[in-house]
């Protein structure tokens, strides 16, 4: 990562950020689906991480103003959003035994770059660059289409996690009401690669006739292109001996493995593209429709999925009561704001161009100086590079609120 100006996320900086820039009203609209406060907001859990890593759970608020007041008072390093409960989270202790339960919650997904360590060569661990962000962008494209086409959800908000990953929040009414079992089923449907970064394994997703499920077949068509551009050309994953050995491990045909290993060991500089072409010609050497050719083709499809299919953190999605960092929080290490991301333009998104809290405060200062004003502004953020991102959230919330209005009107008519 390019060394930018020093990151300062001190309490003073954070407090100014919350007071002058954080879009509480937009967050309220997005969570609440209506203008007047509903249970979606008032019964919602917020959890604060305070300076010194003190964790404060089961906070709840009646209005956006109340939330802002408390945030400015506690000045957390970040805060998280949880489910809507059957009682106000504050009243957890006084609720009848067994009656305090999560009832609604956005369906959320978390994709983290560290899960891609086995398949990226440019960075590892916490690092991320424009090049490996392409893995995340491939995941976003596949998930965005799958969720909409297969599950029919419309209200998807993608949010950069501030460092090396991305979150998805789905706010459709039906998605909000999913039980844990249903969430688990949906996640299983979506999962192809499972396990820890060290030992990720591709599940056997093939149906009993050895073909891919239709949903994955569709994804594969798109991912094949990503695979050759990203995995072969850019990341050159199979160039090193370790790289091509792990490729060979995924080929079930021992004769092919033997032949390829000989060729590749003799010519260590062979590029990934050349190696993949070698594998292709091995497959083509078998007669069309032969078992060997079918098996080899299936293995190649599996390899493409293994390297490019979204790697989802299943635990985050499966439980209604999982807490997830709120959009527009500041990542304490990078100082970057967790901004919404347009999935249609995900390929243009550059995590290093995301505004940092320090940059935003500087922008505020220069605006104030040029206009000769002192003091706070109600819409300070409008004068900073945060504006397009807040506009994005506002537009998203507006669509959601329109939907709720439409649904309500529809119900009234049916009565």
């Amino acid at each position: 990562m390019a060394v930018a100006e020093a990151v300062d996320t001190s309490p003073e900086v954070m407090l100014t950020f919350y007071r002058r820039l954080y879009p509480f009203k937009s967050i309220f609209n997005w969570l609440n689906h209506e203008h007047a406060p509903t249970r979606l907001f008032t019964h919602r859990e917020f959890a604060f991480t305070l300076q010194g890593d003190v964790y404060l759970r089961y906070q709840c608020f009646r209005t956006a103003e109340e939330l802002k007041k408390q945030v400015c008072q506690l000045n957390p390093t970040r805060f998280e959003i949880g489910p809507v409960y059957s009682f106000r989270p504050k009243d957890k202790k006084t609720a009848p035994p067994g009656a305090f339960n999560p009832v609604q919650r956005e369906l959320v997904f978390d994709i983290d770059m560290t899960d891609y360590d086995p398949v990226r060569t440019c960075c590892s661990g916490a690092d991320i660059c424009r090049r490996c962000w392409a893995f995340i962008s491939a995941a976003v494209q596949v998930l965005h289409v799958s969720i909409r086409e297969q599950f029919g959800y419309e209200h998807l908000l993608w949010v950069y996690s501030g460092r090396r990953g991305i979150h998805l929040w789905i706010s459709d009414k039906e998605a909000m009401e999913l039980t844990d079992d249903q969430r688990k089923a949906l996640v299983s449907w979506m999962t192809v690669i499972q396990g820890s970064p060290e030992s990720s394994k591709k599940l056997n997703v093939r149906l009993n006739n050895r073909s891919l499920p239709p949903s994955l077949q569709t994804a594969l068509e798109h991912l094949a292109t990503i695979f050759s551009e990203l995995v072969l050309a850019d990341q050159n994953v199979f160039e090193s001996q370790q790289g091509f050995e792990s490729l060979l491990q995924q080929i079930p045909d021992l004769n092919v493995v033997k032949a390829l290993r000989e060729t590749w060991s003799e010519d260590p500089s062979r590029s990934s593209e050349a190696k993949w072409a070698d594998l292709k010609s091995q497959a083509r050497a078998y007669a069309k429709g032969s078992t060997q050719r079918i098996n080899l083709t299936s293995a190649m499809e599996d390899i493409i999925l293994h390297h490019t299919y979204p790697r989802i953190d299943a635990e985050v999605s499966k439980h209604r009561n999982h807490l997830l960092k709120a959009p527009f929080c500041v990542h304490p290490k990078t100082g970057r704001v967790c901004v919404p991301v347009d999935p249609e333009r995900i390929e243009e998104f550059d995590p290093e161009k995301v505004p940092t809290v320090n940059q935003l405060l500087k922008e505020l200062d220069s605006v104030a100086r040029s206009e000769g004003e002192i003091g706070e502004h109600h819409s300070d953020w409008e004068r900073t590079s945060l504006k397009p991102y807040i506009d994005m959230l506002d537009k998203h919330a507006l669509r959601l609120m329109e939907q709720v209005r439409r649904d309500k009107r529809g119900r009234d008519v049916s009565w």
């Binding site: 599950f151 029919g152 039906e174 449907w189 149906l207 006739n209």
Partner: protein, 491 residues
């Protein structure tokens, strides 16, 4: 639910004559979704027996999960139990009073709803056990009759017409699970009917990618239809129980029903029916003499009664609850009043005749129904022992500390083949609070010499529900072996 506004739902009405239908059945289907509550009068006795008989089956289904039975084993055990307590014949079984069977099934289900709607945990467990029972019956139902049942009810599934099936042919065929032989798979696919439901109604099919999904709709092939049916049964019952829970306070005015309901739900919590009815059918027929008890205790008693016998021998005395529980147990085991008096007189050998006659003889006669209210008291069931206080000579699996329990198990059963290697399994079950399962497992272990295997319980997969059942079953095994040995000598 029980439309009790106009009239009491369950009234003792001996004059009520059941109309016998000669043609159409009042209950046309063997399977029941229990959409409608029973709106007829029943006697209090029928109310209770229907529920108890059903409870036995549900308790057995529940303990099957703890005992890790396979689906096939579970089906076999449950069907055997159903045949005994809650038979439900096909419509084609013309010689059977099918309406009576189905009425009992209907009524029992609704009585138990009342008993089990009262806490989240009870509701969850009841729904699980009932859904399993429904699945077992659905599985065993005649195909034609099942079709008739399914078409009798609106499952809110949208049939996919030929045009729509053709439109998604590629995807539907790809996700269609069938024969490994491609041409056969394709043939059965062509004949398959498809239904459309919201995907949330078939999460299990989605999880296994067994359906095609499009914009929130799951395309379910006919052969996976049962998934929709089961999910619907479960969802329906869950909702109904919550509604019943909210409506229940109105029922509390009927003071005759409330104690029955309490008793039923307690029994389910303990994993057993509230009474072990059937000591008579299990009696071995031979009279038991006072001097035989030592030997019997060693060979046939469950741990609770063994420990009572053991402390009686050690202390030459037993405290109140111990005397009561053990005395009733011995009575049901087959000790006559005279033998019982002899037994206790000998056991309290440090007591004067005068004290014995004054303080204990009366109580023994009383427990046989020969004094006082002249009630013939039943021996305590596992449920009663499980729910009694720790100082009341209850169930050792529940009340003993792990160390004491292990010591007691070894001293009671090492002569019957139990070793310390068996203890971890038993203790794990105890830790999971499945006390009757632990006791059942001990029975299996200590009767393995009779060929009893894991999972067979006290025989036929039945779990321990009563100390007398435990002892009687054990004595049956012993007697059967003796008879065999005798037959071999004689022939």
């Amino acid at each position: 639910m029980f439309k009790s506004n106009e009239r009491k739902p369950f009234i003792d009405d001996k004059d009520l004559v059941q109309v016998t239908n000669h043609g159409a059945l009042r209950y046309p289907h063997r399977l029941n979704f229990y959409d409608r509550p029973p709106l007829y009068d029943v006697t209090l006795e029928e109310f209770e027996t229907c529920a108890l008989d059903r409870l036995r089956i549900l308790a057995e289904i529940e303990s099957s999960a703890a005992r890790n039975r396979s689906w096939e084993e579970l089906k076999t055990v449950t069907n055997a139990q159903c045949l005994k307590y809650l038979p439900l014949h096909a419509t084609s079984a013309k010689t059977v009073d099918r309406d009576a069977e189905r009425r009992k099934d209907h009524l029992g289900h609704f009585v138990l709803r009342l008993a089990f709607c009262r806490s989240e945990d009870l509701r969850r467990r009841f729904v699980k056990a009932e859904t399993t029972l429904f699945k077992i019956r659905y599985d065993g139902d005649d195909h034609v009759e099942r079709e008739m049942f399914l078409s009798s009810r609106d499952f809110d599934w949208i049939p996919v017409d030929t045009a729509e099936k053709a439109e998604h042919r590629k995807e539907l065929l790809a996700s269609y699970q069938g024969s490994k032989i491609e041409t056969v798979r394709e043939q059965t696919f062509e004949a398959e009917k498809y239904y459309k439901v919201k995907w949330t109604r078939v999460p299990d099919l989605v999880e296994k990618r067994k359906v095609f999904l499009k914009r929130g709709w799951a395309y379910v092939p006919g052969k996976e239809q049962s998934s929709i049916v089961f999910a619907e049964f479960e969802a329906n019952l869950t909702k109904a129980l919550e509604a019943t829970a909210r409506a229940l306070p109105r029922l509390d005015e009927d003071t005759r029903i409330v104690p029955i309901l309490d008793n039923l739900s307690q029994g389910f919590l303990a994993g057993v029916p509230s009474e072990w009815i059937g000591s008579a059918e299990h009696a071995t027929g031979d009279e038991i003499k006072a001097e035989m008890v030592d030997e019997l205790a060693k060979k046939h008693f469950p741990l609770c009664m063994w420990t009572l016998h053991n402390s009686l021998r050690r202390d030459h005395h037993l405290k109140h609850f111990g005397r009561l529980n053990y005395g009733l147990f011995l009575k049901v085991l087959g000790l006559s009043i005279d033998e019982a008096i002899a037994f206790w007189r000998k056991s309290f050998d440090r007591m004067t005749d005068d004290k014995f006659n004054k303080e204990h003889k009366y109580n023994i006669r009383h427990s046989f129904g020969l004094e006082g209210k002249r009630a013939n008291y039943a021996a305590k069931s596992c449920m009663q022992l499980l729910t009694s206080g720790p100082s009341e000579a209850g169930c050792p699996y529940r009340h003993y500390s792990p160390e004491n329990l292990q010591t007691a198990l070894l001293s009671a059963y090492s002569s019957r083949g139990l070793t310390s290697a068996d203890l971890p399994e038993i203790m794990a079950t105890v830790k999971a609070a499945h006390y009757h399962v632990a006791c059942t497992r001990v029975f299996e272990m200590t009767h393995s010499t009779f060929g009893l295997k894991k999972g067979e319980g006290v025989g036929g997969g039945e779990s321990v529900t009563h100390p007398n059942q435990y002892a009687a079953k054990s004595m049956e095994f012993y007697k059967a072996q003796q008879d065999n040995a005798e037959a071999m000598v004689v022939e």
